[in-house]
Symmetry: C3
Subunit: 143 residues, 3 copies
């Protein structure tokens, strides 16, 4: 069976300030619609204040503990040269994004993403305002 | 020569608390057994307290310096909402995992992983207890 | 149209100490020369004091804000067991590299990398000295 590739994407709205969204079902849905059975979904988040990763998607981690770590590492409301230069307020958003990374590859077999029982795929919006977001889902494998 | 894909995995035991394991030989072995000559190994660590990356695998970095960085960023023995909610003790493990990332793609040519001389592939177990771990190794390329 | 794969690389000089280089045009050039139209560029940085990510490539972030974050997380001029063991001075470089990650996958369509308007691909050199660097660019997709 020959390997094929299809470039799809998902879109959704975010609230910013390290808003974390569970995108597992959206990614799984793209695999289902594509008809691929074994392969990998390459996710790439468009925009320089975004992040992709996995987490146990429960409110404590998602709403408080992750934010606390990032606030220690790169607080929002302190001076950044980026903010001073551009009259912007999202310097923290950019450096969080660079460290987190905006690319993720997740394999699937029998048309199902291979994830742990308590492991979901997340999009992290580090920007300081609500936005409309787009994540490329490039599917590669066997149909 | 047509491109093909094969989904394999490796399994091993870990001790937790940011236990770092060199999995380079295990990944290379999967490439050897698969018979692929040029392509990429996509690694995905199952579980939400895991991490994947590369390092110069020497005791100072592996046993002390990496742990010290993570202890500064997300100490184990401080309160987390995750722990309060679920009577758990691994809030730090989860947020380390999300920041580190559980996906890694390493190319190979002439059946050999392309790595620096002092660069090994590592699995990081951030959990607070010994576990049995599974990493998907999806190999894609030419045989 | 069958999927194909080609392993290429880019080379450049770096100054170290978290020197950040915009490699977007170099990666795009490899795609152009390869003749692929739709697929993904898998980047892998050779060496254990390297990093890959994306950023809005403007001087404030690139020269100051990112460095400040890493200096907080893993300062250069403090003791590391790695330095004590090997008479080296780049312990901070290694742990920054492991956390940042040295692998990145970016999709392209119509022969163009899919990136945000203010999102560039960067190489981060965390080492403490000037170096010559090599990044594998493995291109996978349709010609």
């Amino acid at each position: 069976m020959a390997i094929d590739l299809e470039t799809r994407h998902i879109e959704f709205s975010t609230k910013g300030r390290t808003h974390i969204i569970d995108i597992t079902d959206m990614v799984q849905n793209e695999i289902n619609e594509s008809g691929f059975t074994e392969g990998q979904a390459t996710l790439f988040a468009i925009g320089s204040t975004t992040g992709l990763s996995t987490i146990e998607f429960e409110p404590g981690l998602v709403h408080t503990d992750i934010a606390a770590m990032f606030n220690k590492l790169a607080p929002y409301d302190v001076p950044y040269v980026h903010n001073d230069t551009w009259g912007d307020d999202n310097g923290a958003s950019h450096i969080r994004s660079t460290l987190q990374g905006s690319s993720l590859v997740v394999p699937f077999v029998d048309s199902n993403l291979i994830l742990g029982t308590w492991q979901q795929i997340i999009f992290l919006d580090f920007d300081t305002r609500a936005r409309s977001r787009k994540v490329v889902v490039q599917i590669l494998g066997k149909r």
